[in-house]
Symmetry: C2
């Protein structure tokens, strides 16, 4: 099965959740938009309305968009989800909660519009980030802390939780230092994922883009309070 | 199959996307939180961490949360989605785009935090709503206009698009009057859904809660510009 991932070539963003699954599984794939001419190929799929926004995954004639949909389809095929429908639905439910969480992280620095610069919504960002860190982040962490203990086999949701912890550490290092103490199961899960051989190889390769100030997770010290 | 829906009893909200599917299919279900003692039963499921937030659907021993996950599982069982996996994935992808759209609608009146009153974030709401109506709403409508033509059979995504148009008409009547002219296929789809006998019966029943100022779609005339 030839797998092609289409995502913005300069950020981890939503594409990273798919990349982590492909890398952990050792699945051969092409990160199309990082190849010459790849951005035009991605734009062609979007022009055909094959997705509202990246990431997209092409597997033969099938083209899918939306990170949770891509992972739901892909994971049982690369041994990162069971085949049974009820178990897959439970993972999908968790992944959608991660997707909601990710939107809230994004909106801490862009509470008014993605089309405006951070500097144009800085005051609103400070207000939204403060409430996110006080009310919402502990709620999300607590929810996943309770489930992080259970699974023995790694699933794509575990890989996504690893990425959430990584991203939150980059964006909000001060707040996370405090909150991590109360969420040992999530930290242990993060470490378990980081130690997996193919993930470790990926993280130290050039395929892993660094976090930066164009992505979903951004570090503005004034928001990390 | 005994189906129990758990959702806030006073708003349409996200639960309505599940209600519309159940009603169109004529599937017998219990809207639990609207029954005596139902709110406590819903809270018990949340306390067990069976979902991050309502809606939840219980079908026998299976409990699912997240609207798109619920609909993905439910729809093939009530004839609102094909059984084939690729076709189901395409519907899931569309439903997730609707979910993203819905978050953006919600955030027009709550751009800073759901825990604050609208009046505490009115200025930010005006800014966010303005950009949503100018940039994002036409993009979402255009995306679904292009796909609204195709299907002959009704799917749960069509029912959800009906609900989006209904809600947007309630929240932004002035803007929608203008935008609808450019999206005839979506309007035709809306009308086709509204004319389905079981949907028509549902909409005129007491089971259909009215739109109100506690839901996701809210009408603040100052935002409808």
């Amino acid at each position: 099965m030839k797998l092609e991932l289409f995502y913005w070539p300069e950020i981890q963003g939503r594409g990273e959740f798919v990349r982590l699954a492909l890398e952990d599984a050792g699945a051969p794939y092409v990160d199309v938009a990082r190849q010459p001419g790849g951005m035009q190929r991605m734009q062609a799929l979007l022009n055909e309305r094959l997705g509202f926004a990246p990431p997209l995954l092409r597997a033969g004639r099938l083209v899918l968009a939306q990170t949770p949909t891509i992972l739901h389809w892909l994971a049982p095929r690369i041994n990162l989800a069971p085949a049974q429908e009820a178990a897959r639905a439970r993972l999908s439910q968790a992944q959608l909660t991660i997707a909601d969480w990710l939107v809230e992280v994004h909106d801490t620095h862009h509470p008014i519009a993605s089309s405006l610069y951070y500097e144009e919504q800085k005051r609103e960002a400070k207000r939204r980030a403060g409430l996110f860190l006080r009310e919402r982040l502990p709620k999300f962490l607590g929810y996943f802390e309770a489930s992080a203990r259970t699974g023995k086999r790694i699933s794509y949701v575990d890989l996504s939780l690893f990425q959430m912890i990584e991203g939150l550490r980059y964006a909000f290092p001060r707040v996370m230092r405090k909150l991590e103490r109360k969420h040992p199961a999530l930290v242990a899960l993060h470490d378990r994922v980081a130690a997996r051989p193919l993930i470790r190889a990926y993280l130290s390769s050039e395929r892993r883009l660094p976090f930066n100030q164009q992505g979903i997770f951004r570090h503005y010290p004034e928001l990390d309070a």
